[in-house]
Point group: C2
Chain length 255, copies 2
């Protein structure tokens, strides 16, 4: 039996309101109850009668359960992620909660609306580093063992994928990014291009283009997405304009 | 010396106008000359005085050169991709043209504006299959050798990445998708979840959820993005509602 309520999972994009889709904006207008990490909810301009339910960023599954409960009661619920809700964000937590939760959660009408995820925003600011085969890896070992992350880094680097790192560093995970760079230095040349993209598209944006040899983990914080090029990724220097970073559409066999 | 003109590379998103960012819509309003594959230009509502320069989808580098030439002459140029312009699309072709072109192209003020790429739109329609580490692979062997594609498929599958396939099939590339499924069947279990997402978000959308054992390459066409799950990817069946497909945020070590 379908319940009266509805749950929509949206992504605000990287934080610049001009990078949120009209579809997401429309969902925000329709909803009555908003669940999310407080800084993402702060990006919304809510009307009187629209209710914020802010929570900490470590509480995804509890938040998902609260949102599903409200929707199963008949609420018009909006679950808010930054970026795209399907990339290391709330859409998976909602599905996981439905999978393991009470039957009434399976009757909630759930929609996921895509958004601009951080790696696309960072890539756009420097050119087209994701112009060829690439992967996205979360460096958080809260939910998977570190050895699995190292295995994926090695597999991706060896096969010539460009890589985007999410969740690179936090107070409770201070060493992971440095260790990831060390793993990659054993496989990729030191001149491999690395881009640190912090808060892309927002007023406090900071973009740094460097190399794997020089990449300094302390350049990153929780709001940073890092792109590590393949051996094909190139930097085009320009006069009076920032360089362009791109990965060519063609590739040779790497061995 | 910076030239008078400007070149903006935009992505329309998957084709639903509500999934194009306001930033891209604003760039369209400002520009005078539009370069792109004809079906993508057809998505725009241009004013009198705004000029279409449509070309075939195989002609990226010629199109990039024509757009850069017009911008270097002082034009307000918009280069139009579907999806995100940085993912197997025009941003890399523009950078490549600048890299190898005349000096005056290096003086063009180039901006890339991100868009909703197909894999995010398809993922959203079924739940959160990209909820954990994933990669994007073009199956076109026009610009890279097929053996490199097989190497990447094997590396990604063995390391537990979810995969999204772009450019899966075309009249001139009829066998590649079937071969890719065969490669993966040697590594991944037959019950691995596969999603065919055609024209996500458009009126002619067609989504099919199947397994690797049953995946039929003829279910795909040029407008299809295919997501192949990892061994962790799950399907949640629901009564009276379509199933949810998701990859959990946590993972065990796969060996």
């Amino acid at each position: 039996m379908r319940s009266a309520g509805k749950l929509t999972v949206i992504g605000t994009g990287p934080g610049n309101p001009d990078q949120m889709t009209p579809e997401a904006a429309h969902a925000i207008e329709q909803a009555t109850d908003f669940y999310g990490y407080a800084p993402y909810l702060d990006r919304l301009e809510l009307r009187p009668g629209q209710t914020r339910h802010a929570s900490d960023n470590r509480e995804e599954l509890d938040r998902a359960g609260a949102a599903l409960t409200r929707a199963a009661e008949g609420g018009e619920v909006c679950v808010v992620s930054g970026g795209d809700p399907g990339v290391f964000a709330m859409a998976a937590a909602i599905c996981e909660a439905v999978d393991n939760g009470p039957d009434e959660w399976r009757a909630v009408d759930i929609s996921v609306l895509p958004g601009i995820t951080a790696m696309l925003a960072v890539a756009a600011r420097v050119g087209a580093p994701l112009g060829h085969d690439f992967c996205a890896i979360s460096l958080s070992d809260n939910l998977k063992p570190w050895e699995l992350i190292e295995k994926r880094l090695a597999a991706a680097a060896s096969a010539g994928f460009v890589m985007a790192f999410y969740n690179p560093i936090s107070r409770s995970r201070p060493w992971q990014l440095g260790k990831a760079f060390d793993c990659l230095r054993a496989i990729l040349p030191g001149e491999t291009v690395v881009v640190f993209g912090r808060a892309a598209g927002r007023p406090d944006e900071h973009i740094e283009i460097t190399t794997l040899a020089d990449a300094d983990p302390t350049s990153a914080d929780m709001a940073t997405c890092i792109i590590v090029g393949s051996s094909e990724t190139r930097v085009v220097e320009r006069l009076d304009l920032p360089p362009l970073v791109y990965t060519p559409r063609f590739a040779e066999v790497s061995t």
